[in-house]
């Protein structure tokens, strides 16, 4: 009889909930029963409220159980041995779970399914088909990516194909592909999940980018807060080199491309692309003025493609299935799918990849199941620390770059943080300013000084000192930061501040709308 194949995620979120202990418990329980098992530390499927979620391969496909604690393991193993038999924690076939059925998994198709440390498993699940196609028609890669409508998933939403075209057309002795994996926004973890659960898709995407624009070296800049992702990436890069898909001759072609992982050092601003480039060069992570664009003068002054993890990870599928396949998902100018991250005080938190156009309300209430605390949802922050707070009244906003912008917000990197009615929005506005003050790189005045003055002004408003005057000061200050800052840190900090003030004035000491009407 072949060994029982058991999956216990090695994803950091699963590990934080005890997956390592669960894996050890399975090994011990199997030894005790004298059952041969093969343990695979897969990524997470993204149903994070069910982590640690263990799975067993059966004749009916994979059967999942979760959330599993070490004390559950004996019983769960017994059910697993009975070909995925019943158990109170059994959730059946994971792909048939309602949370998964409502998704369109393109970028995350393999995440949680494959063994992230197996190149063979990646290939068996369609990996490297995109690169093979790209090598057949290297001159068309940029055009395919452009036609797919893919826009930068890091937050700015800039068309990826146009960026690549600029670098492809630039003349230089060296060019670089840089992956921005400095996923610092609270409420976001999609980059981390891909790096930990399906690292080869990122490596493949970067390799295709390198071939498209004529770059031979790539860097993945990962934040130091992600030690698991760094370890998986380094293992995967080693395997990719050994497997001939990275290095002097990519898949036997005349193209050379290699990738190195570089680790950040706890500076949020390094998620801004030009600060990231300075950091990669070994400098303080200070934002550069644009122009010149990184596509013209990027890393070490050379033409550089700098893209977010999710942008690059979308490319292999686009090359494999074609631009039209990807473009047919989504609405308006937001094409394809967005891996949305449901986070914070939410019942069913996790990774939800879906075509653009789903409403905020569907995401928070229907998919996410409301708050974990069971209390009413008061506000959701979309797009990280620089994203706006949305009240329930705006829950009909469709998830789309332009629709969010029209309502004074942004989708950013796709993180949604839910707050219940216990949240004090004046305190959140103060935090936004305080965070900006701590993380400002210091280069431009509106951000460096405006954020500190912002904290002081919010404090005065909360304390009721010359409230009307200070509200004017805060509004004016936000205006200056928004239009006068060099980058999104100072430029977007006004989003959470002004949205909190606009939608929740009662938290800033104003009479509630109801009282005011009386």
């Amino acid at each position: 009889m072949s060994a029982l194949r058991i999956y216990v995620p090695g994803d950091a979120a699963a590990v934080a909930c005890g997956a390592d202990d669960v894996a050890l418990a399975f090994a011990a329980a199997a030894r005790k029963r004298n059952v041969a098992i093969e343990m695979i530390r897969n990524g997470s499927r993204g149903m994070l409220w069910l982590e640690p979620m263990a799975e067993v391969a059966t004749r009916r496909g994979r059967i999942a159980y979760g959330p599993v604690t070490p004390t559950d393991v004996d019983g769960v193993l017994e059910a697993m041995i009975a070909d995925g038999g019943p158990h109170p924690l059994c959730i059946g076939v994971p792909d048939e779970h309602p949370f998964m059925q409502k998704q369109t998994r393109l970028t995350f198709a393999r995440c949680g399914v494959v063994d992230p440390r197996s190149l063979d498993d990646y290939r068996a699940h369609g990996g490297y088909a995109g690169l093979a196609r790209a090598l057949e028609k290297t001159g068309e890669i940029v055009d395919v990516v452009t036609r797919s409508g893919l826009r930068g998933r890091g937050g700015a939403g800039f068309p990826t194909g146009i960026k690549w075209k600029t670098v492809a057309e630039a003349k230089a002795d060296r060019k670089y592909i840089v992956c921005n994996a400095d996923e610092g926004d609270s409420g976001t973890f999609a980059d981390r999940m891909i790096m930990e659960g399906d690292p080869f898709v990122l490596i493949e995407g970067m390799t295709i980018a390198g071939i498209a624009v004529g770059a031979t070296k790539g860097y993945i800049y990962v934040r130091s807060e992600y030690p698991h992702a760094i370890a998986v990436l380094n293992d995967a890069l080693h395997m990719a080199r050994r497997g001939g898909v990275l290095g002097g001759s990519v898949m036997g072609s005349s193209f050379a491309f290699d990738i190195e992982v570089r680790v950040g050092a706890g500076a949020y601003v390094c998620g801004e692309e030009t600060a990231l480039l300075d950091s990669l060069e070994g400098k303080r992570g200070v934002v550069r003025a644009k122009p010149p664009l990184p596509a013209h003068k990027g890393l070490f002054g050379r033409p550089t493609v700098i893209n977010n993890v999710l942008s690059l990870a979308a490319v292999p599928l686009i090359m494999d299935k074609g631009a039209e396949f990807y473009r047919d998902f989504g609405i308006g100018r937001s094409r394809g799918t967005m891996p949305i991250q449901l986070a914070g005080n939410i019942k069913h938190g996790g990774l939800f990849e879906v075509a653009f156009g789903i409403t905020l309300g569907e995401l928070v209430d229907d998919i996410g199941g409301g708050t974990l605390s069971g209390r009413p949802v008061k506000a959701v922050q979309v797009g990280g620390p620089l994203g706006a707070y949305f009240p329930r009244a705006l829950f009909d906003t469709p998830f789309d770059y332009e629709a969010f912008a029209a309502r004074g917000g942004l989708i950013g990197h796709g993180g949604i943080v839910v707050f219940d009615d216990g949240v004090d929005m004046a305190r959140q506005a103060r935090f936004a300013m305080a965070f900006c003050a701590v993380e400002s790189c210091g280069k431009c005045t509106p951000c460096r000084i405006g954020s500190t003055r912002g904290v002081e002004t919010v404090d005065r408003i909360i304390a009721g000192i010359e409230r009307a005057k200070n509200l004017d000061v805060l509004t004016d200050l936000c205006n200056t930061m928004k239009f006068g800052s060099l980058c999104a840190l100072g430029g977007f900090t006004p989003y959470p501040v002004m949205s909190a003030l606009t939608h929740f004035p009662e938290d800033f000491g104003a009479p509630t709308r109801l009282e005011a009407a009386e």
């Binding site: 934080a16 994070l48 409420g187 370890a231 950040g264 070994g282 992570g285 986070a343 914070g344 965070f435």
Partner: protein
Amino acid sequence: MTMRIGARQPWDAQLATELIGAHLGGEGILLPILHDLQSTFGYIPEPTVPMIADALNLSRAEVHGVVTFYHDFRHEPAGRHVLKLCRAEACQSCGGDELAARAESLLGIKLGDTTANGSVTVEAVYCLGLCATAPSAMFDGRLVGRLDPAKLDGLLAEAER
């Protein structure tokens, strides 16, 4: 992860020279050098600043500027254990602020400080990417999700052992 605090080496100029030398020839190597020094010594010892400046043909001010820019780099050794508590929005929505206040009050120190007996350094971290299983913490490199007062007290007790 291999971030055990016990693995720290005492200051050794020869070792520092070797760690720096191992990177020479690469591009943009200052951060990798600083990471190596910190993982070896537990902090960035002051004497390494002129050593790095020499090796990379930079001014001491430039090296000092980089060391002080990044939150990760320590200027003195941390306590025997390091507890990082996430203070970002997703963790705030699940009671992260209250847990940080609890840690501060139980230890009698502020975030960023080390207890008088050197047992533990508690510091803020802004997002560990565990935002759907908040609040989150990292104890000596070990991730802890769904942190609650009982788990926090357990970690603090572990730090004292």
